[in-house]
């Protein structure tokens, strides 16, 4: 096990290096710089822009810039934003709580929907409940979030006027009123994400359950005279969840990096919207930091998912 872990960690190093190199090269090939708005302003002389590029080290050749970036990364320094001129780490820490709150809640809600829905539709396969759940699940993961997001805004903000269309973290109340207000702002982005994630999870749980409840040991459990509830929850579900847990582990990086489209639609100030605005502003250090952090998280959670498999299913060995 330890050997396996060490081997995987060693393999991760060239993987991440490769990812960072490709990212850096692609970003440096992209046209434009953060000062394009200045370029169109006749009152900003060319020298000013050239001086800016020089001061921010943007005129060095790509390989020099990459080596500089890599050395400072190894010292734990992600660099500073070209447009905010503050450390990237600071920008990311500012966004992280909102993203974790919105994405985390969305995943919990998704799980709360998917678990019972998936189990029921597997146990009562082809019943009307299964049909309804299956139909909804297909709708859920067929509709992209930018579409459901706009529909939600149209219905809940514009026609019904129940919920605000602009998310804000600046809530002026205290106590229960504060909680309610935060919920009102977060409701739509959370529902949009939960609908999508929940639909996907429902399908996985259903499929996994269907595999398990046909196993011989389930028949044995029933033959022993156990109640149906005990059979499903204690014997079937535990085994059915093994693949589901690994799928969820692979989705956890998304909780930290946010949902780009959904955050943009509702103006949620999370990591996803930071990424998209940094791309638009050509703020390379911020884009690098977020995408690279995502790559690290994916590698780490892949490893965790593989290890979790072994823990959940003792038949799997790692040597």
């Amino acid at each position: 096990m330890t050997k396996y872990l060490i081997r995987r960690l060693i393999i991760a190093v060239p993987t991440l290096l490769g990812i960072s190199l490709i990212l850096f090269v692609i970003l440096s090939l992209a046209p434009g710089d953060p000062f394009s708005e200045l370029a169109l302003n006749p009152n900003v002389p060319v020298e000013v822009r050239e001086n800016l590029r020089r001061q921010l080290g943007m005129d060095d050749p790509v390989h020099i810039r990459y080596i500089k970036w890599l050395t400072s990364l190894l010292q734990g320094n992600l660099g500073y934003s070209f447009v905010s001129r503050v450390d990237v780490t600071q920008l990311i820490w500012q966004r992280l709580p909102t993203t974790i709150f919105v994405m985390g809640t969305a995943y919990i809600v998704a799980l709360l929907i998917a678990l019972p829905a998936g189990i029921i539709s597997a146990v009562r396969q082809y019943s009307w409940l299964d049909n309804v759940a299956t139909t909804l699940a297909f709708i859920g993961f067929s509709l992209p979030t930018f579409f459901t997001g706009l529909i939600f805004i149209l219905v809940f903000s514009i026609y019904l006027r129940w919920l605000p269309m602009v998310f804000t973290t600046n809530v002026q109340a205290t106590g229960p009123a504060w909680f309610l207000e935060v919920l009102r702002h977060a409701a739509m982005p959370i529902m949009v994400l939960a609908l999508f994630e929940g639909a996907v999870l429902t399908r996985y749980i259903r499929a996994s359950m269907l595999d398990v409840i046909r196993m011989d040991y389930i028949h044995v459990a029933r033959a022993k005279g156990l109640s149906e509830r005990a059979v499903i929850v204690r014997h079937a579900l535990r085994n059915a969840l093994i693949p589901v847990v690994t799928i969820m582990a692979l989705q956890i990086p998304g909780i930290f990096t946010g949902a780009i489209v959904t955050e943009q639609i509702f103006r949620v100030p999370g990591i996803g919207s930071l990424l998209i605005s940094s791309i638009q502003l050509k703020d390379t250090p911020v884009v690098m930091a977020i995408v690279f952090a995502y790559a690290v998280l994916v590698v780490v959670f892949n490893l965790i998912a593989d290890l979790a498999y072994g823990v959940l299913d003792p038949r799997i060995r790692y040597d």
Binding site: Y80, S84, P269
Partner: protein, 604 residues
Amino acid sequence: MSNWTVAELVEELKAGRITRRQFIHALLGAGISMPLIVSILQACAPVPAAPAQPQAPKEEFQPTRRGGGGLLKLLWWQAPVILNAHLSTGTKDFDGSRIFTEPLAAYDPDGEVFPILAAEVPSVDKGTLDREGRWVIWRLKQGVVWHDGQPFTADDVVFTWEYVMDPATAATTRGNYTNIQVVEKVDDYTVKIVFQEPTPIWHAPFVGGNGHILPKHLTAPYKGQNSRNSPYNLKPVGTGPYKLVEFRPGDIIIAEINDKYHVPNRPFFDRLELKGGGDAPSAARAVLQTGEYDFAWNMQVEWDVLASLEKYGLGRVINYPGASTEHIQLNYTDPWTEVDGERSSIKTKHPFFSDPTVRKAFSYAINRKLIVDELYGAGGEVGIYMVFNPKKYVPEGGRWEFNLEKAARMLDEAGWRRGPDGVRQKDGKRMKVLFQTSVNAVRQKTQAIIKKDLESIGVEVELKAVVADVFFSSDPGNPDTYSHFYADMQMYTTGPGSPDPQAFLEKWTSWQVAQKANNWAGRNIERYQNPEYDRLWNQARTELDPVKRAELIKRMNQLVIDDVVVIPIVNRNGQAAAKNNLRGMDLTTWDSNLWKLAYWYRTS
């Protein structure tokens, strides 16, 4: 107020604690008739000299006290990322900074200088402006304090100049300060700016968006290389109407009223929130349709969508005269011949645009009115000149014409006759143009309209649309940028960013020609060369008589139209969305939307 007696109300009115309107409303509410109220007013209250015309909508705010306006919610669809104007790279950042720090003066909608931190506008009569344009003296307002209570003095102004001029600071506003020789402190409340050469544009430094004054006592350690480490880039301490509570870059600015603001009885609002991010159409909806926000900036939204949102009756779209023009540029050089490794080289001549008659014919073939009516609506007016604001620089009686027959006749006269395939040709050359612009729905529709008309007079048109990031980039290695201009015609928007068009008009001087030698950083994209134009520009640069100078600028403005260097299509308006009860914004294209933030108010 209904429990008050008439006598008490009269006392309140006399003391100025309530307005006349509130007084009248209170009495009307108590069932007293209007004629009687008028006589009470005349008899008891020594009314200020204002003309008694209650029907006339008065924009001027006469607040009785500071604050009391509650929360003002602003929505910018691009979010500010830094609050130090001198390090800002976009309008959004200049706007965000403007809430907290202020310049000596601002530009009003007419392009005139409006004092903010200055006690008065410098003038020759007062002896504060050199007749020869070599220096200007600014007298500063006294008793102004920074948000931390320290006094604002001439030292801060001098420091701001030093800060901006240090190359290591990498200030984006530096261009406005380069012609300064020295900024001297005369006394605590007087500064003298000495210019390197006589200049009519004495108001370039310290005025408007590029003129924010920084507090020396806080920013001094963060000059030059260290500027990026300054905590005040994100936590500005200024003299402005609101103080910072919290700033999250790329998301939100939260501010509260500055109780010590230097204009009496202002500002009106107690708190302010500027939320950033998202897109323009949904920002318009948040103001006009759901009313969640009071004001949204830069409404780049199709005009019919805006018009339909206005019908909800919550808010209005404010159109104010802009300064930029969507226009077509005609290439003077040949984009299809390569000389010394560059196309559109200044050593070549365009096969047909080098003929003035052909250029004129093209200007008659563009249906500007149709384009404006169909695609821009209230967002602009038919363009005739490139400098159309302020009016003093616009030649009188400017005219444009759309006349396809005339255009066809002129092309015939120029010797370009229709060939067997319907396309005009001369000496074996076909009249084929490549017409490029950036990817943008409105621009592609404009291209289609123009293509149809040009084809009807026998010009073959190939359309090209380049992704905006590429088209507007300054990458010398990319042949698709607007400054390479490897096409016959191209279209985009530009205009002077300040009320004085001198810097803008330099773009048609012969030394600004964009070419390989200057990495295509020259701003004369059309490669226009006219000694007459160069002479006018040089003359205007040092002409100090404002009337003569305006005449020179008008001639330049006319010359680029007469020579058809450009074909203006739309003089674009600035657009913002505001709730119906929000007043006092006085928006101008010369300065930030928030230039008069201290004067904004809300009617009940």
